[in-house]
Amino acid sequence: MPSWWWLLIEVLVKVVLVLVPLLTVAALLTWDERKQSALMQDRLGPNRANIGPFTLWGLIHPIADTLKLFFKEDIVPDRADKLLHALAPILALAPSLIVYCVIPFGPAVQIPGIGRPIALQVADLDAGLLFIFAISSLAVFGVALAGWASNNKFSLLGALRASAQMFSYEIVLGLAAVGVIVVFGSVRMSELVARQATPLWGGLPSWGILVQPLGFVLFMVAALAELKRSPFDVPEGESEIVAGFWTEYSGMRWGMFYVAEFVEVSVLSGLLVALFFGGYHIPGVDPGWALTGHTVAIPFTSHGLAIAGWGWGLLMMLAFGLKVIVGDVVLQQIRWTFPRFRYDQVMSLGWKMLLPLALLNVLVTGAIVIR
């Protein structure tokens, strides 16, 4: 078989390795959103869907919900633009999935039987971070088209709010990332992650959050606004404009927006982990071990535990997954804690507070790095 054939198989395996956990986590997040909010609000949360005698703490609900959404009537309003109405959910869901292809979920790893090291990343683009910005900004089209095509006043208001908000915070998002790029000197995602392994002082790894604390806060806030999640959920602010751009959607078309929202939560969490929390790094573990294998001493004994390269790779993949899930849970916690901003407050926070701060952050970071 020619070598490009192998390459295709390798990429395909990695795509599956990204998408399957991503969608699974998105489904689990719909459960977690309900269960975690129930925990915060002294309720029980979902616990009714069952297979025979098993309810599994409500874990069957995501499956039941998916099936239900597929078998619900797919209502398209008469005066809606049929084509755009169908296109919008695709444009909302697809970009959020695509973004994950440049986020490294593990180090380069040596797998027995394959001669060369395998990078645990679907596509190691030289302009990775820029690619993320480019693709994630496509999501605004899905939202804007959904609101426009529905021919509903609430949808239109939601779409207007969403587009203005996402535009405004994209600038802050980009500027906050500039700080990180200055520190690590690359826009290639694999290098951005790899350079966070170099020790700072006192044995601390130079994770993004330690070298760019302000950048982290800016990035986090801007990304929350990009996600349109509480406290920035004005585009779908229930008590104001009912459901915003979702108003005229039903069945799985609505479900796609819903899934996209939770996929985006994981994407944001993955981005935060990759840029600010050392990606797949485990403190004290050298990413190079995934290539060579390494023997760790077991404390209080003279024995050592030999773990092969693929073992370390797996371990670091798990570390990445765990970090992402912790990030997801934190983001959910934020969602259920804060009240909602008013629309003009969202705007003035972005333009009058975060944007000047982000510009300042770029300059200060530059000055410190060059010194």
Binding site: S37, F154, L157, P339
Partner: protein, 364 residues
């Protein structure tokens, strides 16, 4: 753009309709439309008689059903010239003040919900559950009580209920403080409410606003103190007036915080009333057939939403000739059109929530 907010809108909590004129965010006008929940309760009174009307009054304000009960009982007693036993008056005060707290739970909780924080709402709903249990002990019902009867109350205290109420009150005070920390002092929440929809004294008096809405704008008027009824003159309580810890007089935050303060005052009132509960009958001797002499009377009480008054004309038969109920929510609706120009859509939601409009009370 002409936008209908309501009748099936998440922010209207019931069926209200606001026809909103907007350019996208800022309102040029919001016109409230009433009548979606009109059940002709006043007309029903002319058909079912004095005693029979009591359960219907529950439905005037289902968030705090004790107040319309008491207002109706007072109007009829006044017409009959009936003296209510002191124990019954105390029991009425206890029942209505409990209701005031529970009603303010809904008011401030649903306000937090309208601003986008769902957790505080459920936080207070949990406490309201305990209140419902207490009410079940008191009168057997959880929502529409029919507890206050003409001439007294339907039944005496369940043994040990006073201890149960006191235990709940002890728990409640820290919970209100905790609620303050949870949401009232949240910076986003403060930003959303402070300086929003400021109503001046002229505005609120001119539109006939009552209760906490009136007092939040700096008008020091409380029926319990200024036009005393029942046994309120024997009890000590403060009337919170003016601005809250943030913002200015008459803004949404002042109206919101007035209710929080009122809950605290009601707790004090309840403690005094339970401590001072006299022995005696819980109901006066009332003729089986209530036939007031011809005449008219006006009874006003301070409900959770402000002044609620009954105007009653009797023609000497067993059926009232005419009954009119005046409620706080109705006049509160009237100010929305005046206050709305220049607000944003989100502010309108805050304004409606801060006025504590309860749909059945508007339309009756």
């Amino acid at each position: 753009m002409l936008l209908n907010m309501g009748p099936h809108h998440p922010a209207t909590h019931g069926v209200l309709n606001f026809v909103v004129e907007t350019d996208g965010e800022v309102l040029s006008r919001a016109v409230p439309e009433v009548g979606y929940l009109h059940r002709g309760i006043e007309k029903i009174a002319e058909k079912v008689g004095y005693t029979g009307f009591m359960p219907y009054t529950d439905r005037i304000d289902y968030c705090a059903a004790m107040f319309p009960n008491q207002g109706w009982a007072m109007a009829v007693e006044r017409l009959l010239g009936l003296q209510v036993p002191r124990r019954a008056e105390y029991l009425r005060v206890i029942a209505t003040e409990l209701c005031r707290i529970a009603s303010h739970f809904i008011a401030v909780g649903s306000m937090a919900m309208d601003i986008g924080a769902y957790t505080p709402f459920l936080f207070l709903i949990r406490e309201r559950e305990t209140f419902n249990d207490l009410m079940e002990y008191l009168c057997g019902a959880r929502l529409t009580f029919n507890y206050v009867w003409i001439g007294g109350v339907s039944r005496d205290f369940h043994p040990g209920l006073d201890k149960k109420i006191c235990a709940w009150l002890d728990k409640l005070e820290p919970i209100i403080d905790e609620f303050d920390r949870l949401i009232s002092f949240n910076p986003i929440y403060i930003d959303r409410l402070v300086n929003v929809a400021v109503l001046s004294r002229q505005d609120v008096i001119g539109h006939g606003l009552v209760g906490p809405n009136l007092r939040a704008s700096g008008v020091d008027f409380d029926l319990r103190r200024d036009v005393p009824y029942s046994v309120y003159p024997e009890l000590k309580f403060k009337v919170p007036v003016g601005r809250g810890p943030f913002g200015v007089e008459g803004d949404c935050y002042a109206r919101y915080y007035a209710r929080i303060e009122e809950m605290r005052e009601s707790i004090q009132l309840l403690r005094q009333a339970i401590a001072g509960l006299p022995e005696g009958e819980h109901r006066a001797r009332v003729p089986r057939k209530i036939k007031p002499p011809p005449g008219e009377c006006y009874a006003r009480i301070e409900s959770a939403r402000g002044e609620m008054s009954y105007y009653l004309i009797s023609d000497g038969t067993e059926l009232p000739y005419r009954v009119h109920v005046r409620t706080g929510s109705f006049s509160a609706m009237s100010i929305i059109e005046h206050a709305s120009p220049g607000l944003m859509i989100a502010d309108l939601v805050a304004l409606i929530a801060s006025l504590d409009v309860v749909a059945p009370e508007v339309d009756r």
